[in-house]
């Protein structure tokens, strides 16, 4: 099954690439990418479905409920680098103000 490529997904992948090995909280990703929970979670779910994202539960501390954590898998990291790289190349190639490329 193909993974849908969208600017929002690329933003999420780029965010994960900021600290590749670190488990991340959903709210932190939402804050850093500017995506609402209703947009972010379907993306995370799709990534997990394709085995590009792994999930875990935080070890509970006293008085604090455990939180859900997310990290890209090895395949996920490879995919993220490809996607973010492709988007960066595309952005460089696009003319500014709709100008004609020479």
């Amino acid at each position: 099954m193909k993974m849908r490529r969208s600017p929002q997904t690329t933003r999420v992948l780029a965010e994960f690439l900021q600290c590749e090995k670190v488990w991340r909280y959903g709210y932190d990703i939402s804050r850093n990418t500017g995506l609402k929970s209703g947009t972010l979670y379907p993306i995370l779910m799709r990534l997990a479905e394709h085995r590009l994202l792994e999930t875990s539960w935080e070890t509970a501390e006293e008085g604090r409920p455990p939180r859900h954590l997310y990290k890209l898998t090895r395949d996920g990291l490879r995919y993220a680098r490809e996607q973010v790289g492709a988007t960066a190349v595309q952005a460089v190639g696009e003319p500014v103000f709709g100008g004609v490329m020479g």
């Binding site: 099954m1 959903g26 929970s37 209703g38 979670y41 379907p42 779910m45 409920p65 939180r67 859900h68």
Partner: protein, 226 residues
């Protein structure tokens, strides 16, 4: 705790409660975050956004051979259950209900209900499974589950499968328009009906994707060593 925060927590609780088995973990993850969001209104926004998870109706993920075999067993058990008869009963009831009504709108909507339910009844009848798993062994059941899911996917992608989805949507639209006194007479009922129509349409349209996801899950299980 402020009222806004309490409402946010309440909404998150509802989302966790009504999330489909396959989304339960995600709904819980979303709900836990509410407690760590600084602003109350931001927490409410987060909780409202999390209601989108409710639209994703997926079964519990199949992560092992035992899960796949269990699913195959359920397929096998449903063999004897005739699914078309309720649709024919719906058609018959609507035929009697709307044959004599004065309102043209209700008559047309009733006609749509009758035709769509008869069509769906015949398609369900023609699609009833006849094959059973070869044996109760996990290997046979896993293979049976995969074949059954592929059959469903191929059907949904076929012309008849597409037409059934369209007819299913028409059926629910027909239900909205059969209201006594017309749509303007009961605006709240109409709004509710339209909302149900939209939700049902989303579920119907997403059905092939859901089946494909299950096939992918079975494939992933099959790749794992037993």
């Amino acid at each position: 705790m402020t009222l806004v925060r309490r409402v946010a927590m309440k909404i998150s609780g509802v989302v966790v409660r009504y999330a489909s088995p396959g989304c339960k973990e995600w709904a819980e993850g979303l709900a836990r975050e509410v407690e760590f969001i600084d602003g109350d209104w931001a927490a409410l926004g987060w909780a409202l956004g999390s209601t989108r998870v409710l639209l994703d109706r997926r079964g519990a993920p199949m992560t092992s051979h035992a899960d796949v075999a269990e699913r195959a067993r359920r397929f096998s058990e449903s063999l004897g259950n005739g699914g078309s008869s309720p649709m024919f009963i719906v058609a018959f009831v609507n035929l009697i209900r709307f044959v004599g009504v004065a309102s043209l709108q209700q008559r047309i909507a009733g006609g749509v209900l009758v035709i769509t339910s008869i069509y769906m009844g015949f398609v369900i009848l023609s699609q009833q499974r006849k094959r059973q798993a070869l044996s109760d062994s996990v290997g046979d059941l896993t293979l049976y589950c995969k074949l059954e899911l592929e059959r469903q996917r191929d059907f949904l992608r076929s012309g008849i499968g597409r037409s059934v989805r369209l007819v299913g949507v028409l059926f629910f639209i027909g239900m909205v328009f059969t209201q006594k006194g017309g749509l303007r007479a009961n605006p709240s009922v109409t709004a509710f009906g339209v909302l149900v129509c939209v939700l049902v349409t989303i579920l119907i349209v997403r059905q092939p994707r859901r089946v494909q996801r299950q096939i992918d899950e079975v494939d992933a299980v099959l790749k794992e060593p037993r």
